[in-house]
């Protein structure tokens, strides 16, 4: 039986590498037209401040706002929370509590020690003064994203958390505002797009300049973040979402199919891939996909995503599966295996790892505790989930007494003269014992 909904690859196909790379290939998001437009918007906000911010907001969000309308007051957040259905409110609160408890484990502490030469060394950890959180409007307006971006900043001890969220056609999303109330945002502005990023990076009279901007957005937002990087910190340039499931015959094919759908329903660019060493199990998942797909509310999006960026890959054994995992460095990795702990040590690159059949990615997306902002497009090779550490930074501490300085100065002076930096050498030599 063949599934028409998803690509089928076998590791020993002669064209395996080419086909896999085609499925994994992601746009690098360097559209020159978008870049030109975003540069203009940033320059506009830098030069004309709030006038430009208001003008772009009214144009792109189809509003006739005054400057005062760009602020969403705390009262509106509280009202949104109070107006929430009780079950939804309890769920948001439960998710927030779990996310907070997990992230509290990530807090980094300052440390100091005295080395053998009596030199004080250490690392002082401090939070950022002010963070900006971008929350998309429109169809991708997720209250869970508000929790995931704001709570780590709060746990880190960031002085002020500023949120921006576009309100196209003056539509505010009450779930997003309620989540902002629960997470504890200090100020919210009803702005979005590159103009919101520019305002956060450079500051306007209305919008305070922040030290770091986090949160997902469309291609304009991603480009703006890329362009202001350096002036402010940014989290990462997020690509389309991905899941990689490694499964054996102990998994339920319907569960695996639904987990692939959950990823694919995000948007047409989402990627959902199953790897299994069991060819028979692969057939059963393909059959589940065929049977369950028509039932899905977002069947069209799912079908497109599975066709373009989805695959069932059969491999010879667990070694081959592990090699593929590390090559793909997936954002989400489900180990739907009888013994996931045995496989875990082989995983070098993944954003989040879900162990066993009960650990569905969707549980992690909302409320397990770990962050759902994760490295995409194989960047798990070098980057990490969003965390408290993204809102803390470190300062090195160096404290020499006379004896320690005498020792260091000897080495420093030799090396400085070796590099031709004689003022360095003389500065060190002043600290030598007479």
């Amino acid at each position: 039986m063949t599934s028409h909904s998803i690509n089928r690859l076998a590791h020993d196909d002669h064209d395996f590498d080419v086909r896999l790379e085609a499925i994994l290939e992601r746009s690098e998001g360097n559209d020159p037209a978008i870049e030109g437009r975003v540069r203009e918007i940033i320059a506009g906000v830098r030069e004309r401040g709030d006038d430009a911010l208001l003008e772009y907001t009214n144009r792109y969000d189809r509003r006739q706002a005054q400057l005062a309308d760009l602020t969403i007051p705390q009262a509106a957040l509280t009202a949104a929370l109070d107006g929430l259905d009780a079950e939804l409110r309890a769920a948001l609160q439960d998710a927030a509590d779990r996310v907070r408890r997990y992230h509290e484990k990530q807090v980094q502490q300052s440390w100091r020690y005295v080395d053998d030469d009596g030199i004080e060394l250490g690392q002082q950890v401090t939070p950022l003064d002010r963070a900006g959180v971008y929350v998309p409007g429109g169809k991708a307006a997720y209250p869970s994203s508000v929790l995931m971006n704001v709570i780590p900043a709060r746990v880190a001890g960031v002085g002020e958390v500023v949120m921006v969220v576009p309100t196209p056609d003056d539509q505010r999303n009450p779930l997003v505002l309620a989540a902002a109330a629960i997470a504890g945002v200090d100020r919210v502005f009803a702005i979005g797009g590159a103009q919101a990023v520019a305002a956060l990076a450079y500051g306007t009279e209305l919008v305070p300049r922040v030290d770091k901007i986090v949160g997902p957005g469309n291609a304009y937002v991603a480009m703006a973040k890329r362009l202001v990087f350096g002036r402010v910190g940014i989290d990462m340039i997020a690509g389309p979402s991905e899941v990689l499931i490694v499964a054996d015959a102990s998994a339920d094919p319907d569960w695996v199919a639904m987990d692939l759908f959950a990823q694919a329903e995000h948007d047409e660019l989402a990627s959902a891939i199953l790897i299994t060493a069991d060819a028979d199990f692969a057939e059963r998942v393909a059959a589940s996909i065929e049977r369950l797909l028509p039932e899905m509310e977002r069947a069209e999006i799912i079908a497109t995503a599975l066709r373009d960026n989805g695959a069932i890959v059969t491999v010879a054994d667990a070694d081959a599966a592990a090699a593929l995992v590390n090559r793909m460095a997936p954002e989400h990795l489900e180990l739907a295996l009888a013994d996931p702990e045995a496989f875990l040590p082989r995983v070098r690159h993944a954003g989040a790892i879900f162990l066993g059949h009960y650990s569905a990615e969707s549980l992690g997306d909302y409320c397990a505790g770990p962050n759902h902002v994760l490295p995409t497009s194989r960047t798990a090779r070098f980057s990490s989930p969003l965390g408290v550490y993204d809102f803390q930074k470190r300062s090195s501490i160096i404290g020499c007494n006379a004896a320690g300085a005498d020792k260091l100065a000897q080495t420093a002076s030799v090396l400085a003269r070796g590099e031709g930096l004689t003022a360095h050498a003389r500065s060190a030599e002043y600290r030598r014992k007479p």
Copy 2:
């Protein structure tokens, strides 16, 4: 008495803010001509691989190299080390040992715990597979930079460390090669500029693709790193070097002047600023600058840097000094105070903090232990010294048993339906107890 060599500012001058900002203002390095050229070079290396790499290298480094000449073999590193003057070799080894011992304190460990609902949560820490270290050639060829960039990668457990260093006119820097031998670099290529960054980011037949590129470079290198960011990780876009010294009358004016010179001698763009609440001490430092400057080997560079980006700033008290420190967020902060520990808790933003009169920045530059790759241009507001953590990344771990999944699935299902993501909801609901 007035110094003509350095700007003089008093905190209560009517034009204080404007003058200070002018001194602090840094180019953002977005030269469109450089960007266009770098984009071409990157495209060339992506499309034509080693042919392009060789062509650019021969053109920009004035060489007639063959492909084989682009590799510097391990034997050349060992030979450089063996050929080193004994005092210099001992100093390099001492510096490497101290840097390694400090960085070993930064290693992050994986952690796991089971929460109240029986859910396994954690963070798995793994090193990068392969890191690329850019080392400048020519006048800014610093062996200390090799140690500072390579050792954290090695301590993190990075699988392979690849170094690139341009050899203009076929000139190899033996100190740099010796440092590479001591630090333990796996492979060295005699390439530089944007073409070296492109080769590391995309890989060629000769040069393996890396996961992250670190190390300083000129405007072309910085632009190339900015453009490949996302495809690979990068450390930071380093700006000109800076020192801020907060001093009181317990400091020796000659020592403070020399510490300012040590920073200023790097290049004409370097910034060196003294803040003191003691107007008389400010005069004494100005006098030391006048007296000592003519003695300096790099007097012209120092004079230009002090004139363009140097200042002696007098303030009313320690509160005003602390406010300025945090506003400037300096790369290097010397607290040349009788009681530096009393001032330290007020410092929120600085790359490295040097406590007391014996803790000269130059000692930290070479051998105190902490890294000398530090956030510049006020980016200490949100970023940290280069460290072992830059070569490790984290994967979240989520492991649910049936009971835990039942609990999470309840919350996840409500939130997923609230966001209109019904495949997420159904994936969660499969994990509920029947």
